[in-house]
Symmetry: C2
DNA sequence: GTGAGCTTGTGAAAGAAATCCCAAAGGCCA
DNA sequence: TGGCCTTTGGGATTTCTTTCACAAGCTCAC
């Protein structure tokens, strides 16, 4: 469900004192209707207390479990260009349970240099012995022309989920899930709504 | 409609020789059903030729017009951190009709330095005489704590659309449209689907 | 204990989106 | 010119989502 991450973000941003929350409050933050929230939660088999609301810590755990992020997830970034480096430096991922454990590139001038705590590795290390930690999630931040090829290598080496930045569709087996982040498209959608505003 | 940008991207990536396209072809690229595509297009009052398909150049124009991007759009980026600079350097925006015309920050050590072609300006210039070009679209790439405040200033100075990267909801009047890009949420959704794969 | 006051959970209604399906219509070739 | 092939357009249907509305259930104060 596409709203669970929004609920989770709200819950995580709540002060610790706030240990119960109503569907109404959740709805407002998530930009939804209270009945909608209640259905979402009952759909993941999470139940509140009538007259009171939902337990914040329990709900957090339940949503994390539902999203498959009960434990911290290891993520690798492929492509150490401007975007790849910006992502590697971005603290927000860690805060939400995603540890960036590797940063790959093919440019020999970059390999070995550090970005924050992380040393850029040769993409060849994906296969070989220099790979020290496994990961199932990869962030693709390579040029569009390389995306398909790199995606295939990632899949070959056990990646199950890809967050794809270059503006091309990558074809992968049905056993891998891909999510596209395309800034131009976001701006276009924005422009669409912007041009229809009061 | 959220699929129009996807159609547009496909159409723009087509070789020039390809001047007619069927709903079937469009559907495959956009991950939709052919009937769905036909409805979308007839919904924006664009019509094809039976037995043949849709005219690629005409469809491109019609979609751009519908999205409100028939002309090139001017965009400003606020926040010259890693992300802001990466975005300013990203050529993909220009290719899709969005010109980054300014990059703002508040850090006096950054102001005046260049990122690619663009000189970083003081955010104060939003109001004053140092502002040389107007824009209606802004990309927010500031720290989460500053987001709301900066958004308000942008709105005050005529911005109509905001693409928001910091992981907080910004509250703006109904006359402004906001779109959130939250990487942690994308990863969470990815993880959700990833954990449900065959 | 008991009643007042909230808030949940869900059946039913309304609304939106996707899909099915096929008649209608244009082009192409013989 | 006429028939075949292809693909659109849109009525009808199904499926999915959102919202309404209210009984049921829990807590707290008295």
């Amino acid at each position: 469900m596409v709203r669970l991450p929004r609920y989770l973000r709200l819950l995580e941003d709540l002060e610790a004192a706030h240990d119960v929350i109503s569907s109404e409050e959740l709805a407002e933050a998530a930009g939804a209707n209270a009945a909608n929230v209640r259905r979402d939660l009952s759909h993941i088999d999470f139940h509140g207390v009538r007259g009171i609301g939902y337990s914040v810590p329990e709900l957090k755990m339940r949503i994390r479990q539902e999203l498959g992020i009960a434990d911290r997830q290891r993520v690798a970034i492929v492509g150490a260009g401007n975007l790849g480096r910006a992502l590697a430096n971005y603290g927000g991922l860690g805060k939400r349970g995603f540890d960036v454990i590797a940063l790959y590139d093919t440019d020999t001038r970059k390999i070995g240099t550090k970005v924050g705590e992380i040393t850029i590795q040769d993409l060849e290390c994906l296969d070989g012995d220099c790979r020290d930690k496994s990961f199932e999630i990869a962030i693709l931040a390579v040029p569009a022309v390389a995306a398909q090829q790199v995606a295939e290598r990632l899949v070959e080496h056990g990646v199950r989920s890809i967050l794809n930045f270059p503006p091309v569709n990558v074809n992968v087996p049905a056993t891998v899930s891909v999510r596209q982040v395309d800034l131009s498209m976001e701006l276009q959608v924005l422009s669409y709504y912007g041009s229809r505003l009061p």
